[in-house]
Amino acid sequence: MYSNRISTTARYNLLTEDLKRNEANYNRLTAQLASGKKITNITDDPIAAVNIVNTNRQLGQITTFNQNTQLAMEELDSLDDLMELAGGYLTQAWDKAVQANNGTYGVTSLKALKVEIDEITKTMVDLANTEFNDNFIFGGANTKLTPYEMDENGNIIYNGTPQNNPDYIRKTEIADGVFEVINTTGDRVFGYYDSYFESADNKKYYPQTDENGNTIYVDKKGNQYTGDESALTAKTDYSGVMGALKILSDSIQEVIDAKESGDSDAETASYTKMFSTLDMFSKAHNDILTEQTKFGGVQNRLQMTESTLDTNTENLTSYLSSLQDVDLASAASKWMQAQYSYQASLQVAAQSMNMSLLNYM
C-alpha cells in the first residue's frame, strides 16, 4: 500500500538532496579550475599523492646532484688549468736541464740557470698551493693545511695526505649512491723533496741551529730530539717534478762548486747526478699527463651526468604536472556541464516545489 506513495516531505527532501549534489559537484569543479590543481588534498587520490611526494623528493635530489656536478666541474676545470700550467713549467725546467747537461756552459751561465730553476720551483710550489673555494686543491683530505712548504734546508715538503688511500679521497655524489672522486693529491702530481734524519723509532727530524749556534734536531711539531745523535740516519725521499727541480738545482750548484774548486772528479759525479734528472722530468711529465687524462675522463662523465639529470628533470616535471595539474580543456567543459545541470535542477525545483492540488481549489 505504501509502495507507490510519495509524501510531500519526501518530495521536498529529494529535491533538496539533488540540489545539494549538483551544487557540491559544481563547487568541486569550480575549485579545481580556480586552483589549477586536480588534487588539493592527499585523500583526493592516494596513489597520485604518494607519487607527487616521491617525485618532489626526486626533483629535490636531482637539484642537489646538479649543484654537486656543477661545482665538481668548476673544481675540475681549475684542476685541469693548474695541471696544464704545471706541465708548461715542467717543460721549461726540462729544457733548462737539457741545457745544463750540455757541458759547455760556464759557471756564469750555470749560475743564471740555477736562478731560473729556483724561480720555477717557487712558482711550482705556489701553483701546488692553489685554493679553490677555500680548500687547498692538492692537499688531499688536508684541505685546510698548506700542502707545500719550503724549509730553510731547501726541502719541498708535502703536507697533504698520500695518494690512493680511500680514507683521504674527496668525493661528490652525482646520482643516487654514485660518488665521483674529484681530487688528486700533490704527491701524485708534483712529488716532493724531503731530506731528514730518521731516528731509531722511524721518526723524522730536521736539523736546526739554536740560539747558541748548536745544531739541534726537531720534528715537524717542534719537539726536539733527545736521543743519541749517532742513532740518527740521514735520509732523502723525493719524487716527481719537485724532486727533479730540487736535485737539478742542487747538482748545478755542485757543478759550479766543483768547477770553481777545479775538482774534476766531483764535476763528473755532479754531471751524472744532473743527467739523472732528465729521466725524472720525463717521468714527472708523464705523471701529470696521466692525471690530466684521468680527470678529463671524470669531466666527461660529469658532463654526461649533467645532461642525464636535465633529461630526468624534464621527465619528472612533466610527470608531476600530469599528476597534479588540471587538464583545463576537459575541466572547463565538465564545469560547463555541471553549471547547466545545476541550473536545470534549480529551475525544476523552483517550479515543482509548489505543485499540489491546492493550486486548483
Binding site: 509524501s7 642537489t64 683521504y168
Partner: protein, 532 residues
C-alpha cells in the same frame, strides 16, 4: 421509527466526518514536523445487534451508520530498525572520516611544506656538508635543517595530540575531557536516554488498551533515532508501546527506567581507581566510558569495547593504535614516534662511532676524536638532563651539544676506514657524511625494512588511502541512509494531495450527511402535517 434512526445516523455521520476533518487538519499542520507519522481515520459501518431472521426490515434495522474504528498511524517497524542500524553505521563512519580528514590535513605534504620536504632538505644539507666538511657555513646549515626537521616533527606530534585531545581529551586532565567531543556526545546520549525513559513512562500510562498513542509513539521513535546516532542499538517493544533499548547485550533503558547510564572518566583517573600505572601500563583510549545503573552502581567498568557503533563508537576508537592495520591518529602518532627515534639513533650512532672524528673547536683546522655522548639528536627530561632513551616525535630535539657555541664542530664528518690512517689535518675527509648520506637509501629493520623517507611516504600513503576509502564508505553509507530516509518519509510522511483529497472527501460526506439530515427533517415535518 426509521426516520428517527436516519436522523441519528446522519447526525453520527456529521460527527464522524468532523473528526475525520480534524485528523486531516492535524496531518496538514504537522506536514513539516520532524518524525511525524501521517494518521488516517479508519471508518467502519456500525452494526446494531439483533436477530435478523427472515425479515428484511431487520436487516435495515441492523444498519447503524458510520463509526471510527481507529486512527491508524502510518509506520513500518522493519524499516525503522533497519534505518537505525544504518544510521549508527553512518555516524560511526562520519567520526572516522572526520578524524582521517584532519589527519590528512596535518600531513598534506603536496605543497612541499611537510616532514617529507624537511627530510629532503636535511639530506641536501648533508650533501653540502660532504663537500665542505670543514666549513662552518655548511655545518650551520646542517644544524639549521636538523632543527627544522625536529621542530616539524614536534609540531606534527602536537597537532596529532591536539586532534586526539579534541576527540577524547588528553587522557589526564578533567578540563580537556570536558572540552572534548566525546564528552558532548556522552552527555547528549545520556539526555536522550532520560527522555526515552520519560516517554516510555507516558506510554505506559496512556496506551492502556488496544489503541495506539500516536503522538507519543512519534516522539519515542524520534528519540530512538537520536540514540541510534550515538550507539548501535536493538529495540524491544512491549504492547503498551514502551521500549527496552540494548547496545550489544547491555540494557540501557527498560520501560520508565534508565538502567544503563553512561559515565566518563579520563584514562588517568580510571587507572588510579583500578591500580594501573598511567601512562606506562595503559594502552587504551584517553577517555574511558563506563555503564552505571540508576543507583549509580557500576555495571560495566570499561565499556569502550562494548560501544562499537554509532558516533560514540567511532569517536572512542578513532585515536588509539590497536595494531590491527587500521590507520588513525593513534597509529600515525606511533609511526611518527618510530620515525623520530630511528632518525635519532641512526645519526647518533654514526656521529659517535669508532674512528669517526669531529673538529677541534680550539683549532678548526684539526680533527678531534668523537666521544661517547656526542649526540646529534636527543630528548630532555623535566630536569633538563639529556638522554637518547625514549625519543619520540614530540620530544626529539637537536642536541644541546650541537646547539651550544662552537657546537657545530661536534658533527663528526671524518671517518677512517683504517684507524691507522688518522691524520689530524685531514679535515677534508667526509667519509662519515657519506655514510650519513648513505642512510637515505638504507633499509632500516626498525622501520619495517624501509628507508627513513620511504617509511614516511608509506605512512602518508596509508593516511591518504584510509581517508579515501573512509570517504567512499561514508558516501555510500550516506546514500543508504538518504535512501532509507526517503523510504521512511514516503512511507509515513504527509502528502498534501492525499490530505486535500481526503479533505474534499470528508467535506463532501459532511455536506451530504447534512443534506440527508435536512431531507429526513423535512420528511419528519411532512409526517407531522399528515392528517391535518
Amino acid at each position: 421509527m426509521n426516520l428517527l434512526s436516519s436522523l441519528n445516523i446522519s447526525a453520527g455521520a456529521l460527527s464522524v466526518n468532523e473528526k475525520a476533518i480534524s485528523v486531516v487538519s492535524h496531518n496538514v499542520s504537522n506536514m513539516n514536523t520532524e518524525g511525524y507519522h501521517k494518521q488516517r481515520v479508519n471508518l467502519q459501518a456500525r452494526n446494531i445487534a439483533g436477530q435478523i431472521g427472515d425479515n428484511p426490515a431487520n436487516q435495515v434495522r441492523a444498519n447503524g451508520g458510520v463509526k471510527i474504528a481507529n486512527v491508524m498511524r502510518y509506520n513500518d517497524d522493519y524499516l525503522n530498525n533497519y534505518y537505525r542500524e544504518q544510521l549508527s553505521q553512518k555516524n560511526m563512519l562520519e567520526q572516522q572520516l572526520g578524524n582521517l580528514d584532519e589527519l590528512a590535513g596535518i600531513f598534506n605534504d603536496l605543497e612541499g611544506t611537510g616532514v617529507d620536504a624537511a627530510l629532503s632538505k636535511f639530506y641536501e644539507a648533508l650533501n653540502n656538508l660532504q663537500q665542505y666538511p670543514a666549513s662552518s657555513t655548511a655545518r650551520t646549515n646542517f644544524v639549521e635543517t636538523s632543527k627544522t626537521l625536529t621542530s616539524l616533527l614536534n609540531e606534527k606530534s602536537v597537532q596529532l595530540s591536539k586532534l586526539t585531545g579534541e576527540a577524547l581529551g588528553d587522557g589526564s586532565s578533567e578540563d580537556s575531557l570536558k572540552n572534548s567531543k566525546i564528552y558532548v556526545q556522552y552527555r547528549e546520549l545520556n539526555n536522550s536516554l532520560e527522555e526515552l525513559a520519560a516517554v516510555n513512562k507516558a506510554l505506559q500510562t496512556t496506551q492502556t488498551g488496544t489503541l495506539t498513542a500516536n503522538n507519543l509513539l512519534d516522539q519515542r521513535d524520534l528519540i530512538l533515532h537520536d540514540i541510534a546516532q550515538f550507539v548501535d542499538i536493538t529495540v524491544e517493544e512491549s504492547p503498551n508501546g514502551s521500549v527496552a533499548v540494548y547496545t550489544g547485550d547491555q540494557a540501557l533503558v527498560k520501560g520508565a527506567k534508565v538502567v544503563g547510564k553512561l559515565d566518563i572518566d579520563t584514562a588517568k583517573s580510571y587507572c588510579e581507581k583500578h591500580g594501573i600505572i598511567y601512562p606506562d601500563e595503559w594502552t587504551g583510549e584517553n577517555a574511558v566510558l563506563s555503564i552505571v545503573d540508576e543507583d549509580g552502581g557500576v555495571v560495566v567498568e570499561n565499556a569502550n569495547s562494548v560501544i562499537t557503533g554509532g558516533a560514540l563508537g567511532g569517536l572512542i576508537h578513532s585515536a588509539t593504535d590497536y595494531d590491527d592495520g587500521v590507520t588513525n591518529a593513534g597509529t600515525v602518532q606511533a609511526s611518527l614516534d618510530k620515525l623520530a627515534s630511528s632518525i635519532a639513533s641512526i645519526f647518533n650512532d654514526l656521529n659517535k662511532r669508532e674512528n669517526a672524528y669531529c673538529i677541534d673547536p680550539a683549532n678548526t683546522n684539526h680533527l678531534k676524536a668523537t666521544y661517547e655522548g656526542n649526540n646529534l639528536f636527543a630528548c630532555y627530561d623535566e630536569d633538563g638532563n639529556e638522554t637518547t632513551e625514549g625519543i619520540t616525535a614530540a620530544n626529539i630535539k637537536v642536541s644541546d651539544n650541537i646547539l651550544k657555541t662552537d657546537g657545530i664542530w661536534n658533527i663528526s664528518c671524518a671517518y677512517f676506514e683504517n684507524g691507522d690512517n688518522y691524520d689530524e689535518n685531514a679535515v677534508g675527509n667526509a667519509q662519515n657524511v657519506i655514510a650519513m648520506i648513505g642512510t637515505r637509501n638504507e633499509k632500516q629493520p626498525e622501520l619495517n625494512g624501509m628507508s627513513v623517507e620511504d617509511f614516511y611516504t608509506s605512512m602518508l600513503g596509508k593516511i591518504a588511502s584510509a581517508g579515501d576509502s573512509a570517504k567512499s564508505l561514508y558516501e555510500t553509507q550516506c546514500d543508504v541512509v538518504d535512501s532509507l530516509e526517503n523510504q521512511l518519509d514516503s512511507a509515513y510522511g504527509v502528502d498534501l494531495n492525499e490530505e486535500l483529497v481526503d479533505l474534499v472527501k470528508y467535506q463532501t460526506a459532511y455536506a451530504a450527511a447534512a443534506q440527508v439530515f435536512n431531507t429526513v427533517n423535512s420528511c419528519l415535518d411532512t409526517l407531522m402535517t399528515l392528517g391535518r
